[in-house]
């Protein structure tokens, strides 16, 4: 068995994207395209349930609240292709809340000074320079999880 199922409680009835053909939302993918499969270097993921996929507006975001000591808020985005991304909710420029920005393509524009940040990598779009921490996300049967480890 893969590590996949060790982090997903079978009793809750959550199934992986790759393992279930009867998805409620068609064509869901996650930012890294891995579905529920994990990255090789993520040996100990800490999956947290965020919300239903449908509760994230298209071309919008939701904020996962965390205290500063826990590392600060996390923004979970959904673009027009229904891909879900998660970034630390802090622009590398002056800490603006990226969750409040306009989402376009695979980017978000910070609401404070309009820096563009790549949702996939967290990198600022040139010529600006900077990077925001990114988090692994997965969508399982319409539920969104983020790895906060």
């Amino acid at each position: 068995m893969s590590t996949t199922f060790s982090v997903i409680p079978a009793k809750a009835g959550i199934q992986t994207v790759s393992g279930n053909a009867s998805l409620s939302v068609a064509g869901l993918t996650t930012a890294d395209g891995l579905g529920s499969r994990l990255r090789g270097n993520d040996k100990n993921p800490a999956w947290f349930y965020v919300c239903k996929f449908d509760e994230i507006p298209v071309l919008g975001a939701r904020v996962v609240e965390r205290s500063e000591s826990e590392g600060g808020n996390v923004a979970v985005f959904r673009n027009s292709e229904n891909v879900v991304f998660a970034l630390l909710d802090k622009c590398p420029h002056k800490g603006g809340p990226l969750s409040q920005g306009i989402v376009f393509g695979e980017r978000v524009a910070c609401p404070l000074h309009n820096w563009s940040i790549e949702l996939r990598s967290g990198e600022a779009v040139a010529p600006d320079v900077g990077c925001t921490k990114r988090f692994t996300v997965k969508v399982d049967n319409g539920d969104v999880f983020v790895d906060l480890s």
Binding site: I8, W47, L59
Partner: protein
């Protein structure tokens, strides 16, 4: 899909610029091979003169170094010349016999210097002035020889003369015309220029017709003989008598070439007339009968050509207006357009020969059509802008000669003259960018356009009030032929369509949603960007009220959350206080909310309202509910405040009830979205305590009625409102104001304030639509009523206002069962 092969003949500014533009929009479409006969990567030919003058080095003027070609996967072949194009086989042959195939071909062979057909033209020591090799030959000659003669008193000739003089040679300029730079300057400016160059030690031989160049004992040129028989010594002769499009390869390949003025004939998509697989850009081109020899047109061509190569096919090149600036340090000279004038033009001339200043502005039909400046060129870019935009200058005619600085500007310590600023002086007050930073970026990174400067330095990218300064810096640093902003500007990088074209399409096609609009207008990006999406959303809801649904995700956060985001991510709340009046119970509710939600700052605004700052986003709905007042739209491109004085109800000078008038205006037009924010003010007498002169609509009560003023602005650039109309009744104030607003709502471009809208369409036009045409006024007023009827208060009617309330609820992440087990 297999990549197509694109071959580019010519490794100069036009060819490489096209490749750059192409890589930006379709990086994977072509395998690109570039052929250049010079053994250098692409460099900035305009800056050869500063190199000759010793102010810059060859290294400084390289635009794309060898690594750039490598990094972009471009196959660069230098030092070889293409000698044949086999069009049916789609093959190129080099002078060394190699053969290359192509699917598309771009010819950017530039131009050749014109060589006078005189005796001795091929002697050693006779050169032209075109490339790095010529420049190096001049620098070397200056070390060994003393006497230089430059034939040609045009731009290039004078720059060569100046450089050679600075390198220690005795220089004589021979010019066949009675004054210098006759294609760019009128006689007076030409004579002034000659005097100042003479002061630098350069000698002139005007109306001098060269007959022959004579060899000395060594076989090198030694003298120049005029038709008059007179002879002058010359160890170095530079021929700078003009350029001819380099079309020999094209002609040999059977492409149609113009006889005069020369150039490969191309259409508006830069395809050659003969073979649509072959494109051509730059100085080798003839477009609509014109061959250009300056940089700005080349860049516009490059953009269109790249667009077509990428198969977007919507860009068209329709010709350019060009300007010239001489790059001789210490000589300021600028010309653009038809500066010579003609029978149906008028001149405004300022002439101060002692002070070395001469300016001539040529006006036709109330529009600036030409400018020739000598000695003081700081306003060159401004005149050039007026000229390109074809702006009506009737209203500023009496101040035109004194420049833009005379028309008023704040925020840069009153500094409007980029040339006189120190490197450490701040240009962009929003982003703290100094002049030195901008000029360094322009030089180091080879920037040519305002957009590029904005991207790399952030200057002029926020409020835009320093745009004029930045354009001046571009002009001074990159030379007069910097790429000026084209007069029809695309909305953003996602499209080539202008704001007007998008507005028109939405109306004509009854487009009702953002995706539908982008699809119809062939947007290049999947869902636009932060510039175009809010604009399209506004155009949709203003064009099709009730039919088009507002898209909150296409709005900036402030309009999505109905509050103003602050630097720490909290929000501010400004409730509406009708006409600036409030009551004890409103104040009590506000005070209670401040205590209950621990709101850190309470501030009285300039618009006679109260601002609650530092409200947490999740508290917003509760704060709105507790204070029980409607939205002040202080966060929106919408009607904001209506500022009033106390008026006749209390004031001993008041002639009209301005407070009531203000309240009525505000009640009639609140919830009104507009291209930009809108502010009104009503004063009860001409003392104008409500400051109506700097509002979008200012109303001033007088004994006999009301005066309306429009297009005022108290922000970036203080603009005094213009008198619009005088009416008798309060009812008329409402209708005239509403009709003007509706016209602005229907025709204004997104983020265009009323002052800019008026500058674009003209006050007369608006007067005609609103004042003279009574039926139209009524129709506008009714359309406004229709649009506003039933519009919700976004602070209370969430569903109707399409407010996504999920945004106010932060999520607490829940550890999954597996996580809990692990703990």
């Amino acid at each position: 899909m297999k990549k197509q092969k694109l071959a580019v003949i010519g490794n100069g500014m036009a060819g490489i610029r096209t490749v750059e533009e192409l890589l930006k929009i379709a990086p994977d479409k072509y395998d690109i091979t570039v052929f250049g006969s010079e053994p250098h990567p692409n460099y900035n030919r305009i800056l050869l003169s500063p190199v000759l003058a010793g102010e810059q080095t060859i290294k400084d003027i390289v635009l794309n170094d060898w690594d750039w070609y490598k990094d972009n996967g471009i196959n660069l072949i230098t030092g070889k010349t293409i000698t044949e194009i086999h069009r049916t086989r789609r093959e190129l042959k080099t002078n060394t016999g190699e053969v290359f195939g192509y699917d598309r071909l771009l010819i950017a062979t530039g131009s050749n210097p014109f060589i006078l057909p005189i005796e001795g033209k091929s002697l050693p020591g006779v050169i032209s002035y075109r490339d790095i090799a010529d420049t190096e030959a001049m620098i070397d000659a200056a070390k060994l020889y003393k006497k230089a003669v430059v034939i040609g008193g045009g731009l290039l000739g004078l720059e060569a003369a100046n450089g050679l003089k600075l390198r220690g040679m005795d220089v004589t300029v021979v010019h066949v015309m009675p004054w210098l730079m006759e294609r760019q300057l009128d006689e007076k400016a030409g004579k002034l220029l000659q005097a100042s160059l003479e002061a630098k030690g350069i000698e002139f031989k005007m109306q001098g017709q060269t007959e022959a160049l004579i060899a000395g004992e060594s076989g090198r040129v030694a003298a120049l003989r005029f038709k008059t028989g007179e002879q002058i010594p010359a160890d170095l002769v530079v021929m700078a008598v003009g350029i001819r499009p380099n079309t020999s390869l094209a002609e040999k390949s059977g492409l149609q070439v113009s006889a005069r003025p020369g150039g490969i004939i191309v259409n508006d998509t830069m395809q050659t007339l003969t073979d649509p697989r072959i494109y051509s850009v730059g100085e080798c081109v003839n477009h609509r009968g014109t061959a250009y020899g300056l940089v700005a047109p080349l860049f516009e061509m490059a953009k269109v050509c790249a667009n077509h190569l990428a198969e977007y096919g919507i860009g068209r090149y329709v010709g350019s207006v060009t300007s010239t600036k001489l790059k001789v340090t210490g000589v300021d000279l600028f010309s653009a357009g038809n500066f010579q004038g003609g029978e149906d033009t008028e001149d405004i001339v300022l002439s101060d020969p002692m002070g070395g200043v001469y300016k001539r502005l040529v006006i036709k039909d109330d529009k600036l059509v030409g400018a020739c400046l000598y000695g003081d060129t700081v306003d060159g870019s401004w005149y050039f802008k007026l000229l390109r935009e074809g702006k009506n200058v009737a209203e500023i005619r009496d101040q035109l000669m004194f420049g833009e600085s005379n028309i008023g500007d704040v925020g840069h310590e009153g500094n409007t003259r980029a040339a006189s600023m120190k490197d450490s002086d701040e240009v962009c007050g929003c982003n703290g960018v100094c002049k030195g930073t901008i000029t360094k970026a322009i030089k180091d990174k080879g920037l040519f356009t305002l957009d590029e400067v904005r991207k790399h330095t952030k200057a002029s990218s926020s409020c835009g009030s320093c745009t004029g300064l930045v354009e001046q810096l571009l002009m001074f640093t990159a030379g007069g032929d910097y790429s000026a902003t084209p007069k029809t500007k695309p909305m953003c990088a996602c499209t080539d369509h202008t704001h007007q074209e998008v507005r028109d399409a939405i109306k004509a096609q009854k487009l009702l949603s953002v995706p539908e609009t982008m699809k119809f207008m062939q947007w290049r990006t999947p869902n636009g960007c932060t510039s175009c999406r809010p604009a399209i959303n506004y155009y949709l809801i203003s064009t099709w009220p009730k039919d088009a649904l507002d898209d909150p995700q296409s709005r900036y956060i402030n309009e999505r959350a109905h509050a103003n985001i602050q630097k720490d991510g909290t929000f501010s709340v400004i409730p509406r206080m009708w006409g600036g009046e409030t009551t004890s119970s409103e104040l009590r509710r506000i005070a209670d909310a401040v205590d209950k939600y621990k709101i850190p700052t309470v501030k009285v605004t300039g618009g006679q309202r109260i601002d609650l700052l530092g409200v947490k986003k999740e508290d917003l709905p509760a704060v709105w509910k507790d204070i029980g007042m409607v939205s002040g739209h202080a966060y929106a491109k919408a009607l904001r405040t209506v500022k009033t004085c106390v008026g006749s109800e209390w004031c001993r000078f008041g002639t009209q009830d301005s407070t009531q008038m203000g309240k009525d205006l505000e009640r009639a037009m609140w919830r009104m979205y507009a291209p930009h924010k809108v502010k009104f003010a009503v004063s009860g007498c001409p003392r104008n305590c409500a400051e109506a002169g700097i509002k979008d609509v200012g109303v001033i009560g007088v004994d006999s009625g009301w005066e309306l003023y429009v297009g005022g602005n108290g922000g970036i650039k203080t603009e005094v409102a213009q008198f619009f109309v005088k009416v008798k009744s309060a009812e008329e104030v409402l209708v005239y104001t509403g009709a003007f607003m509706q016209l602005y709502r229907e025709e204004g471009w997104y983020l265009e304030r009323t002052v800019h809208y008026l500058a674009r369409v003209g006050l007369d036009y608006v007067k005609q639509k609103v004042i003279e045409d009574a039926a139209n006024r009524q129709a506008l007023w009714e359309r406004l009523q229709f649009a506003l009827d039933g519009e919700p208060d976004p602070w209370a009617e969430f569903d109707k206002a399409r407010v996504d309330t999920r945004q106010f609820i932060p999520i607490k992440a829940v550890a999954t069962a597996a996580m809990k087990e692990a703990v």
